[in-house]
């Protein structure tokens, strides 16, 4: 009996056995490389969310035990809590401003900077610099600038304005001052994203449109703007989420004031309720509601914006 040739030996193997072999390596690779990330995500993202939801069903106060299960009472109280409802309003206004203004200005600036040359490169850097600064540092700087005796009001007085605005002391203005600061810092992000989007607009399309007689506005509306849909999506969602969870600017600049709740966002109230008043259970309910609102609004906005992308 002769030994089988390699070809014959290969023929003897079962096709099923060959297909089953890769399964184990894939499982192994997932377990080896994916597990740490998954575990970290579960521990630092999912677990805290679940724990927070659990706390929201209690009267948990770390300084005043015992903790009791209260069901949905915290949620029920939330929607009759004037402080929370005011914070919801403040957060909504802030979010609208921070979503719209940086997007609009960012697009305009990006169009202006979408040119070659060292000057334009330098300007891009200038506009992006605030984004990389700490929000706390930015807040401290702008707090000094906007103080009633700060340089801005001093200049206004020198120019003949006897009673310049109380940028941070007037309850009717303070929220818009805070929103302006957030917009100032986030503007650069929008600029960069739109610049990246503009880089992806085919020059051939623009040239073809120009040859067909389309003017600058028509070229923008018919070619550039539609192709910037992904950039708009990114900017809108990022600004939306960032604005809705604004805490640090408010804490550093106004501490929720002047007075009660004029600039206090939901995120600010979560920490004030949980850390200052020690009502961690109630604060957790606020946090959960905020999470749900952000998730729902973001989903709706994404659906709308992505539909626009698909339509292209």
């Amino acid at each position: 009996m002769t030994a089988p040739t390699p070809e014959r030996a290969e023929e003897g193997k079962s096709p099923t056995r060959r297909r089953r072999k890769p399964i184990l390596p894939r499982v192994w690779h997932f377990a080896s490389f994916g597990a740490p990330g998954v575990l970290i995500y579960l521990c630092f993202v999912m677990a805290p969310i679940l724990i927070s939801f659990g706390y929201s069903l209690t009267n948990y106060n770390p300084f005043n035990p015992p903790t009791k299960f209260v069901g949905l009472e915290n949620y029920k109280n939330l929607f009759s809590d004037e402080t929370f409802l005011t914070a919801l309003w403040v957060t909504t206004v802030l979010t609208l401003i921070v979503v719209i203004v940086p997007n609009v200005l960012g697009l305009g600036i990006a169009l202006l900077l979408d040119k070659k040359g060292w000057l334009y490169n330098a300007l891009r850097t200038v506009f992006f610099t605030p984004v990389i600064l700490s929000s706390v540092v930015v807040s401290i700087i702008w707090q000094k600038l906007l103080d009633d005796q700060g340089p801005i009001n001093q200049v206004l007085r020198a120019l003949g304005v006897d009673h310049p605005p109380g940028w941070l002391s007037d309850p009717d203005i303070a929220l818009y001052s805070v929103a302006s600061i957030v917009c100032w810092q986030m503007l650069g992000f929008c600029v960069v994203v739109y610049l990246a989007g503009l880089q992806g607009v085919p020059t051939e399309l623009l040239e073809a449109a120009e040859i067909d007689g389309a003017g600058p506005w028509r070229r923008f509306r018919a070619v550039t703007w539609p192709l910037l849909a992904p950039s708009l999506t990114i900017n809108t969602v990022v600004m939306l989420i960032s604005a809705f969870k604004t805490y640090d600017y408010v804490k550093v600049i106004t501490n929720g004031g002047p007075g009660s709740g004029t600039t206090a966002t939901i995120a600010f109230n979560v920490l004030a309720t949980g850390l200052d008043a020690n009502h961690a259970g109630y604060a957790s309910a606020m946090a959960v509601v905020m999470l749900v609102i952000v998730a729902v609004v973001t989903t709706i906005v994404l659906q709308f914006l992505r539909r626009r992308e698909v339509d292209l």
Binding site: S32, L39, P65, D148, S169, N255, G256, D276
Partner: protein
């Protein structure tokens, strides 16, 4: 085999990242001594150099104790201490932190009568029968510091002794084109509420010293006529233009600087301001008078406490206690705190240093007379014990004061707001 080890290591690494340590103090047994952490806070008066020197004085006498200084990111050291407790990093020792909340949760060591024997008011600030903060010093909150030059220019020849006289003085200053009061607020808040604190303390506590205890028992409310009356006087100052609403966003540091620059005639502030008055540059003489009552009766709001608290679960509890007591009872340290922060040490037999500043001496004399006449009451919003405001309520008081200053709320609305927030805080 290597794959198994790699997988095990990865899982162990991820799992260990999720482990939360036990809630203990942050001190350790450092090489050559016991290390404790000490939470401090900085202000224009209490600089890094002040704390470093104070700590060194104690550790020089107790070389077996090593101190790791922690600094709160703002003057809200109580809020920061809560964050540290929540994150399991509660310091072994802290100073001037409101003990309410921490004490009830069992986080603080309760000082024994023997340990408190050298303090003038050992029974100050009881929380559920225990004393958790060393009653190291007294602060009068607020006396009213005034610009003598502006008073003279306005024709004011005597310091106000009644509320009506205070209002008259304010009117005279305003008529001369000056600002009667310097206030602030900003994110600290309390500079906006100093006058309100004085009014409630003098008018309300002067008649009903245990008013806040009654409030805790729901026997009285903020919306009651007596409290509203005191608040109404505050609103009256605003309505008459004696308080500039644009100042509510000014930080505490800037507020103090504004008074020292002569931007206003009167500065209601705790006696710690005396330190700045005596040491920082200004081109006018500063005087001080007690917050006036309705009828001129002497009533002086004050708070005794502000001392060390110790983490009951400290890994080096004995060292922490030793450090805290040594810090608070050291004569040199007490003298330094008088000069640096204008404090009135509440230590038996203590007398201020002979070279204490003139403004400090004037304020101290006012306080001593009040003690002799048994005219001292609690300072509203500064109490930190069973008869203090509920956690989180201080900020609400500051907010209410600012709302009245800016005209956003009427007195009735502000008082109703406080009652609403009180109900939530319980």
């Amino acid at each position: 085999m290597r794959r198994s080890l790699a997988l095990g290591a990865a899982i162990l690494l991820a799992a260990s990242a999720c482990t939360v340590g036990a809630d203990t103090g942050t001190g350790t047994n450092g090489g050559g001594g016991k290390e404790i952490s000490f939470l401090t806070f900085e202000s224009p008066n209490l600089t890094p150099a002040y704390w470093d020197a104070a700590i060194k004085r104690v550790t020089d006498k107790h070389p077996d104790i090593k101190v790791k200084k922690l600094v709160a990111p703002s003057t809200d050291r109580t809020g920061y201490a809560k964050q540290l407790l929540t994150s399991g990093q509660f310091p072994d020792v802290a100073i001037a932190v409101d003990s309410a909340g921490f004490a009830e949760s069992g986080a603080l060591y309760a000082w024994t009568p023997e340990e408190l024997k050298d303090f003038q008011f050992p029974d100050a600030n009881p929380i559920k029968g225990g004393h958790h903060q060393l009653p190291a010093n007294t602060q009068t909150i607020p006396p009213i510091y005034y610009n003598k030059k502006m008073f003279a220019d306005a024709g004011i020849t005597a310091t106000p002794n009644t509320w009506a006289e205070l209002v008259a003085a304010a009117e005279k200053v305003k008529a001369k084109g000056g600002k009667p009061f310097v206030i602030g607020g900003g994110k600290e808040g309390f500079p906006s509420a100093m006058i309100l604190d004085g009014l409630v303390s003098v008018d309300l506590y002067g008649k009903t010293p245990d008013w806040l205890t009654q409030r805790r028992a729901d026997k009285v409310k903020f919306a009651d006529p007596d409290f509203q009356k005191a608040f109404g006087k505050f609103a009256d100052l605003v309505a008459k233009g004696y308080i500039d609403k644009s100042q509510v966003s000014r930080s505490y540091d800037d507020t103090q600087a504004a008074f020292l620059k002569g931007e206003g005639a009167m500065y209601p502030m705790g006696n710690w301001f005396a330190s700045a008055a005596d040491t920082k540059p200004h081109d006018f003489e500063i005087g001080v008078f007690n917050f006036p009552s309705e009828d001129g009766k002497l009533v002086v709001p004050a708070y005794t406490g502000g001392g060390m608290i110790v983490n009951a679960k400290s890994a080096n509890l004995e060292a922490a206690r030793t450090f805290a007591l040594a810090f608070q009872l050291d004569k040199t340290q007490l003298d330094t705190s008088v000069k640096a922060d204008g404090l009135f040490p509440a230590i038996k037999g203590y007398t201020p240093p002979a070279d204490a500043g003139a403004t400090f001496k004037a304020g101290y004399d006012l306080y001593q007379k009040a003690v002799e006449q048994k005219a001292v009451v609690n300072a509203f919003s500064w109490e930190t014990a069973d008869d203090g405001l509920l956690p989180g309520m201080k900020d609400k008081v500051y907010q209410a004061a600012q709302d009245v200053i800016t005209g956003r709320k009427s007195v009735a609305d502000a008082c109703a707001f406080l009652d609403t927030e009180w109900a939530k805080a319980k």
